[in-house]
């Protein structure tokens, strides 16, 4: 079963806000000078910010934010965030792979930016909501 695709806009302001809230102030997430200096095309989103957006999608599909039992991803491609009002967009979709004997639902998740997958092995295990 395919779950409805969720789309999230990501701007530089979102990255600055996430840096402050998470405590991850690595300058590759806010300074083009630093990002290009280490060979990136420009400022990139925190991997954990992308994962947090996926977490929102999972919580939405589960029907409850506290239903997630296991959640893992592999970061395969950076999410480049241009310094524009539009920023970029991340699309998150998932399919239900199975319902385990314990009644947990396993999701296989796909996250893309500009048509390219930015995560692999993205999976979540959620329990039925009350």
């Amino acid at each position: 079963m395919e779950l409805p695709t969720q789309t999230y806009r990501v701007t530089r302001a979102d990255l600055v806000r996430y840096a402050g809230a998470s405590g991850d102030f690595n300058p590759i997430h806010w300074s083009d000078r630093t990002a290009t200096g280490v060979g990136l095309p420009g400022v990139i989103a925190h991997g954990m910010f992308t994962m947090a957006l996926v977490g929102r999608a999972v919580a939405g599909w589960a029907g409850a934010p506290d239903a997630v039992v296991d959640f893992g991803v592999r970061f395969t491609r950076p999410v480049v965030v241009p310094d524009t009002d539009e920023g970029t967009e991340i699309e998150v979709s998932a399919v239900v792979k199975e319902v385990t004997e314990e009644g947990l639902t396993r999701l296989d998740i796909t996250a893309t930016c500009q048509g390219e997958k930015v995560l692999s092995q993205a999976r979540a295990l959620i329990r039925a909501t009350r």
Partner: protein, 148 residues
Amino acid sequence: MSLDPSFVGRTYPPTAPYQVGREKIREFAAAVGATDPVHHDPEAARSLGHSDVVAPPTFPVVVTMAASRQIVEDPALGVDYSRVVHGDQRFAYTRPVVAGDELVCVSTIEEVTSRGGHGFLTTRTDVSTVDGEPVVAVWSKIVVRGEA
């Protein structure tokens, strides 16, 4: 860069307790756009059986940061932080983190490998309350990029 495989199995001392604040959860939830009342309104959280507002699923990274630093900044291991990129991340929850939790992290190095000139380091951080109740296990794999 090659990392010393003899570090596999090494466990670091518990971190100082992290006091999970209600406003920190609200701030983090707002920063990731998590608007569900369970993250913001203690009454909404209590109606779902939690003692206070519930942290979004990736919030434990805020708590495990000190533990990660312990390892990445271990001079004996010798990770060059400017060459680190995030590889994998996983959370296995016993229960969600809620405001009021006092959490302690114990980290273990699970895997050290080298491939194609890059080093790979997998750590497991067990997050539990100061009373020893397990809350979440956090796995993180970092890649230490080799010199180009």
